[in-house]
Every structure is written in C-alpha cells, then in structure tokens.
Symmetry: C2
C-alpha cells in the first residue's frame, strides 16, 4: 500500500487483480485502514489477506538508516518475499527506497555482481527495457554484460518478445563510437549469444529499434529523469496553451480522447513500471501516480515476473555468458608457446 493516490486506489487495484487475474493478493499496510477500505469496497468476503505495516513513509522521504528501520509496507512486503510467504511484491511507492530495501533484504542472484533497476519505457511501436535506470552509478564492462542478459530475459519472459533485440547505448552506430566502457562492452556483446544489435543512441529508446537498451546507471538515470520531465513539460504546456483561448478550449474538449491516449502511451511515468532485476525475489515498483488499473497491471507484472521464472533464466544465462567468457580465455594460446 503506497503511492500518491491513497489507500483506496491500491485496495481497488488489488480487488481487480484478485477477480480478473485470479491471483492471491496480500495487502501490506496499516491494518485497520486497509481493513476498513476493503470492507467499504468489497464487503466482508473480499478474500484478501492483510499483513500489518504500521509505519508510513512519505513519497518524498530520503533513504536514510532511520527510513530503512521503519516497519513500512515496503520493508514488510520484501520480508514476505524473502520468507517465501509471497511469490512477488509490487508497490507504487518511492523507487529509490524500494530498490534499497529490496537490495538489502533479498540479496543478489547467483552469479550476479550488480543487480539493476530496469525502466520499461514507451516507444512508438511498443516497449523498450532500459537497464540500468539508476542503481549503479559506476559500472565496469562485466556489469553491463549482466544488464544485457537480465534485460533480454525480462523482455522475453514478461513482455513476450520472442528474441529481444539488445542495443548498447552509445553515441552512434559505428563500432568506434562511444567511451572506453562501451567499446569494451561492445566487443563482449558481439561475441555473446544475445540478439545483439550493436551500438544504439539516445533516440533508439523511443523509435522501436531496440527492445532492450543497456547502459550504466548514471546515464540511464539521467535519460529516464530528463525524459519524464520533458513529457511532463510538454503535456503541461499543452494544457496551458489549450486553455488560453475559448476556441482552443473547445478544440481541446473535442480532442480530449486523443490527448489522453497519447499521454497514456508516451509518458514514461504512465508506462510499465520498474522491475528490480538480479535480486533473489520478484519485485516491481510502479509509478506513484498509478491509478486502480495501473495497480492491477503492476500486480499482474509482478506475478508474471514470478511465474515465467525470470530469475532462474537469469542465473542460467549469466552462467552461460561467464562460461563462454572462460572458454574464450582458455582457448587463448598458452603464454610463450603461441
């Protein structure tokens, strides 16, 4: 139970998930408030379990030791996943906090040096998984290879893309483009079994060229936040301009469906949410602004994260990547005899 829109929206989304998806839902939040809301919305036989998490965390709260000690919904929810009492966790709360709590509470999958935050971004023809979207500000080549594997497994198993096209974020397509880090990663990904497109550039997040875009968490976070802010600014200015004259107000009214559809499709903060990849558990953080429908879809995504066995696949495929790298090393001529 979290997000900007209050308990009612989360409870409503959970009820939708239970009836439409047939999943078992446990709501984690302040017991009495959640119980009252469930009773109000669905009567006494709502079939949803509640686990008490009495302490609230404000959406804007910084991640500090004190925050991490609170018995918040995030803390208790992640514990349920760790103990196996829940198969997956979804929250519409603060992404940075969710990341930190899940990272500390669940630990990394076998073979994963750097779990990562993914962002499912809108594109003109579908969805693009951007990874890392902000968890790891300093990265080595090995880490970006892991991001590539984790992103393609998620795109395949949860987004249903048969053979996801993986691009490496750079400054242009040519092999020579990029920085020291990307040139090293580029060679490694070319030699991998991934469906690797090669270098891509910033525009390829949105034009549908790649299904997965791999980058360090610093660049990914700057891209994500600047894109969210630009979409917000365009929509805000459009609203202001449309309200500025009577004629344009009438025009806006007639075209309101078109605006809503564009906002739902292209605003990065309305789309997809953020799966946490490489952790021993399935967690998805949705947008704070999530409405009932978005909460329901978020719960569905978390459930699919679990049922499609993304984490088993990640462990297997990262191991294959490493074995490949080791084999490549062992195939090198022995020192001095070549």
């Amino acid at each position: 139970v979290g997000g900007d829109r209050g308990i009612s929206v989360v409870v409503g989304g959970a009820l939708q998930a239970r009836s439409q998806l047939g999943v078992r839902v446990t709501l984690v939040g302040p017991q009495q408030s959640v119980a009252d809301e469930l009773l109000r919305l669905a009567g006494p036989s709502h079939g949803i379990e509640i686990v008490d998490a009495p302490e609230a965390i404000d959406m804007g709260e910084k991640v500090t030791r004190a925050t991490l000690k609170k018995r918040s919904g995030m803390q208790v929810g992640v514990e349920l996943v760790r103990e196996g009492a829940a198969d997956a966790f979804f929250s519409a709360g603060n992404t940075a906090l969710g990341w930190t709590i899940a990272r500390l509470g669940l630990g990394s999958l076998g073979g994963i040096a750097r779990p990562a935050l993914a962002a499912v971004m809108p594109s003109v023809i579908g969805r693009t998984v951007l990874v890392d979207a902000g968890a790891n500000a300093n990265c080595k080549a090995r880490h970006l290879q892991e991001f590539a594997v984790m992103g393609q497994v998620y795109a395949r198993e949860v987004l249903g893309i048969a053979s996801p096209r993986v691009g490496l974020m750079s400054l242009g397509e040519e092999d020579s483009k990029g920085n020291d880090l990307t040139r090293e990663v580029h060679e490694a990904l070319k030699a991998s079994r991934l469906n690797y497109l090669g270098n891509v550039e910033g525009s390829d997040i949105f034009n549908g060229r790649a299904d997965v875009v791999v980058t360090d968490g610093f660049t990914g976070n700057v891209a994500l936040k600047s894109n969210e802010a630009l979409a917000r600014a365009i929509m805000q200015l459009l609203r202001e301009e449309l309200m500025s004259t009577t004629v344009s107000r009438i025009g806006a009214y007639l075209a309101r469906g078109a605006f809503r559809r564009v906002q739902e499709r292209m605003d990065p903060s309305e789309v997809g949410g953020a799966p946490l990849l490489g952790l021993r558990g399935c967690c998805v953080i949705g947008h704070g602004r999530s409405d009932e429908l978005a909460i329901m879809h978020g719960i569905r995504t978390a459930a699919e994260f679990f049922t499609s066995r993304v984490n088993d696949q990640i462990e297997l495929e990262v191991k294959a990547l490493l074995d490949g790298a080791e084999r490549a090393v062992s195939e090198l001529p022995e020192g001095g005899t070549a």
Copy 2:
C-alpha cells in the same frame, strides 16, 4: 548554405538577417545556385557576398577523411573564420560534421583542454545550456570544470542571464550522489567563483532550476538525443491520434495555434541550436529543419557570440579557475612540516 530545406530558405534567412540585424552576411555555397537564388529573391542589389563552396555534403553523410577533404560550405566557412575574413560562422548542416571541421580548422582557445558542443535546450520558463552535448565521450574532472565556465559565459553573454545558475548533472541533489567523476567535479565547483547550484538531475534540464547543466559528452549526448526523439514521438502520435476521428480533427483544427506554440517552445530540435565552445572562432550549428526565421536567429546568435566577446571571457575565466586551483594547491601545508 546547408540544412534540410534547401538553398532558398538559407538565402531568405540571410536576407532577413542583413535587413533586420544590419549585419554583413557572406553566403558560402555553390556560387551559381546561390547567386540565382539571391537574384530571384532580392534583385541585383542584394548586398550579400558569395564565397564559392562547390561540393555538397549530404545531411546524413558520415564524418570521414573523404568528407573532410571536400570544399564544402562548412569547410570554406570555417576557413573564412580562421583567416579573419568572417567574425562568426553559422550553418544549419550536420552537427557532428560541423564540430569536427571547426575543431580541426580553428583549434582550441588558450587554456582549454577540451572544447565542447553545447545544446541550448527548452525549459518551461526559458532556456538551459547543456554542455557537453556530445563532443567528449571520455572526460576527466578538469574537463567538466571547463564546460562549467564555458557554459556560464555563454549563458551570460549570449542568452543575457546576469548570473547563470550552474548545476552538475548527477543522480540527485545530495553531495554523496553521483559517480566518481561527478563527486570530484562537485568539490571543485563548490570551491569556484561560479554561481554553483550543486548536483542536479535529469529533470532539471527542463524545469528551469538551472541555466547551465554540466555533464560529460556521453551522458549529454544520450540525454539530448533521447529528449529530441521523445518530443518528436509525442508530437507524431498526437498528430496521428488527432487525425483518427472527425471530431478530434475538428478539435485539432481549432487548437492548432496551441500545438504550434508548444512544438516551437518545447521541441529540443526547434530551439536554440548548438554553439561550439572553446574554439578559436565563433561557430553555431543550427537544426537541419531550420526555416527562414530560424536561419535569421542563428545568424543573430553567431553575431552575438562574436560581439559579446565570449571567447575572451572564456580564456580569462578559465585562467582564473586554474589560478584559483594553483593557489589552493600552493596553500596546502608543505609536506612533513604541517
């Protein structure tokens, strides 16, 4: 003479610049075609000089040795600046090519290790100078300090912002946020005489918080290209959605002024252009899609770049930054005696 819209638009923009700004304009391009167009648009007494640059470069052409050898408008225009026959250069051609030709042809200002490409970005309340927007993929702390000085001089002298607020692109405001590079730069900028805001994040390009946002050329380029692509995608989808029903088509017609104003204000590829900072000469690269008015404004910007003595200021202020750093070093206690 360059850009996507052909000679006529560039010649028209040059004529506007001459009559409205009172600057002397030399057009560099295929002599006969430019002469014919001038005659057609302004008659025989147009007062504009032509310098022949017979070889065209396609907007999509890659920057290769062969491209750089061509007697293109860019090549000849930059030579005019180098020889002092022109005070400033403007082109609506390919940015990467313009950068490379100017970098090779003009060289760096005294004290500047890394000239940089700036992008003047739209914000909800004005303009933000993003620097480096793609020239330097691998950067050291010293380079980002230069970008900060160059960006603030440009914002002050050309955009007319009295004391530009300089932000360092990072993952959040706190001192501890960022990567190894930004933490080093953050300390240096805090100790400088710049109006330094501290760390900013991706969203601060667009919300008007900072006048200058400093980052390495890799991150800056990814942000710029992803933002341009997102704005394009939103506008394209909006057009498609608005054309999808008769009612929304009518709405779009009534609100067309509002759309145009939003596109002009918020699309990064409709705003500002790219000044090349830190070179021995004043060059501005405008957008390929520039229309006559944009060409005129581009010529105005290039002229102001020269008349406001941006380059003298950059040399002075980078020297002050360095002297400050040297003084700080010389004030350290002598080894062993402290």
